[in-house]
């Protein structure tokens, strides 16, 4: 283990089992209440995702493949834009990797809690590790001071995976039955969802600068550079998405005013579907 670089979270002690503050039953009841709120949100956003995917030309099978195989809300929404813009698959893979790399921090934070879980089950757990699953699980584990595998599955499968996939299916079929989606404003859902998700992730000045820079660079590239190079305007999204963070990182940490460092519960709540807030007294703890 390297000691010359900082830990994945700013509060490394929080990754160790904590002193229990609730019994397993009490904590599970709270987990289920929180999970119901997240499930409701997953249904709403899964439906909107299905509508948007259909509007972009995805077949029901393709939309469902995204929701079951990829199972990453923001990346799935973004993929609608990539596909609609004709982005090459390697570029989509790169942007997906960058957008989902935050999961690395969640899995590292959960890893110490999961050492007694058989490896094949951990491999399955990894597929359903989302922002929501992390936020629910880490809060639950800390409350009871130990791992509760059943609690993890409640947060990951019952509250997110199943509702998200069922709602995707409903949305994609509802979208397919609409004769002229533009009359119903379906085409505005994608950019509005993207800007809303981006706003939800702004937790300090660095994110704000990165978002503005990413947008400005993407549009400038699409309008000015891509015609000159005879390449697709959509390449602006890659350039903006990769260079924007480099601009943001120029803001000194002392001025960043970061409120939700990546890998913490607060960060996971930001990435989870906006409108969903866990009423967690461990706010800010990984």
């Amino acid at each position: 283990m390297r000691e010359d670089v900082p830990a994945l979270t700013d509060a490394p002690d929080a990754r160790a089992p904590a002193t229990p503050t609730a019994s397993t039953e009490e904590s599970r009841r709270r987990l289920i209440v929180e999970a119901l709120g997240i499930a409701a949100s997953a249904i709403g956003f899964g439906f909107v995702y299905g509508l948007s995917a259909r509007e972009a030309g995805f077949s029901p099978l393709e939309a469902m493949a995204m929701s079951t195989i990829v199972f990453a809300g923001a990346a799935q929404f973004a993929a609608i834009g990539y596909v609609a813009a004709g982005l090459a698959w390697p570029a989509i893979a790169l942007l997906t990797f960058l957008l989902n790399a935050r999961h690395l921090l969640y899995s590292a934070a959960l890893g110490p809690w999961m050492t007694d879980v058989p490896r094949p089950r951990r491999a399955l757990m990894a597929h359903v590790l989302t922002d929501e699953a992390f936020a629910l699980a880490i809060g639950h584990f800390r409350r009871i001071g130990r791992t509760d595998e059943g609690g993890y599955w409640i947060g990951a499968i019952a509250s997110t995976f199943i509702p998200w996939n069922l709602a995707t299916l409903a949305g994609v079929y509802a979208g397919g039955s609409i004769a002229d989606p533009s009359l119903l404003g379906i085409d505005i859902i994608f950019p509005a969802a993207m800007i809303g998700l981006a706003a939800g992730l702004v937790t300090g000045r660095r994110e704000l600068v990165a978002a503005f820079a990413g947008a400005a660079i993407a549009v400038s590239w699409a309008l000015l550079v891509s015609p000159a190079l005879a390449i697709e305007p959509s390449t602006g999204v890659i350039v903006g998405g990769v260079v924007g963070p480099l601009v943001g990182i120029l803001i000194p940490a002392s001025l960043a005013a970061e409120r939700a460092p990546l890998g913490t519960t607060a960060s996971a709540e930001r990435f989870s579907m906006p409108g969903t807030r866990l009423d967690d007294d461990a706010e800010g703890l990984p």
Partner: protein, 115 residues
């Protein structure tokens, strides 16, 4: 029914799964350089804002060169942004954005998107 994008779903899975699995399957994995964490923190806002901006500001009429685009879509997207910042509720923001566009198009205040 098209299945052309199903392989893309697997490509995206391959790009996503290692990040999810590494910490759970490799307990020795524990640390990342601080600058990498700082960069990753900023990727989400930058990519999503870039997607939104290109979607509403850039249009490619009839396969010609891209042109700057403005219209009621800006108002709708900005309204959604305002609601998310103010109320922290994206679903409400989406409903308002769609309502703005529907009303504007139904009253012919705004044109339907080309194509």
């Amino acid at each position: 029914m098209s299945t052309d994008l199903i392989p893309l779903a697997f490509v995206m899975f391959v790009a996503t799964y290692p990040s999810r699995a590494l910490g759970l399957l490799a307990p020795a994995f524990d640390r990342l350089p601080k600058v990498a964490i700082a960069y990753l923190q900023l990727v989400g806002p930058a990519v999503l804002a870039a997607l939104a901006a290109v979607a509403v500001m850039v249009r490619t009429p009839d396969g010609g060169p891209p042109v700057f685009s403005s219209g009621i879509e800006w108002v709708a997207v900005l309204a959604c942004l305002g609601i998310v910042v103010w109320r922290k509720n994206l679903l409400l923001g989406l409903i308002v954005a769609v309502a703005i566009v529907v009303v504007a198009r139904a009253t012919e205040f705004a044109a339907l998107p080309p194509g």
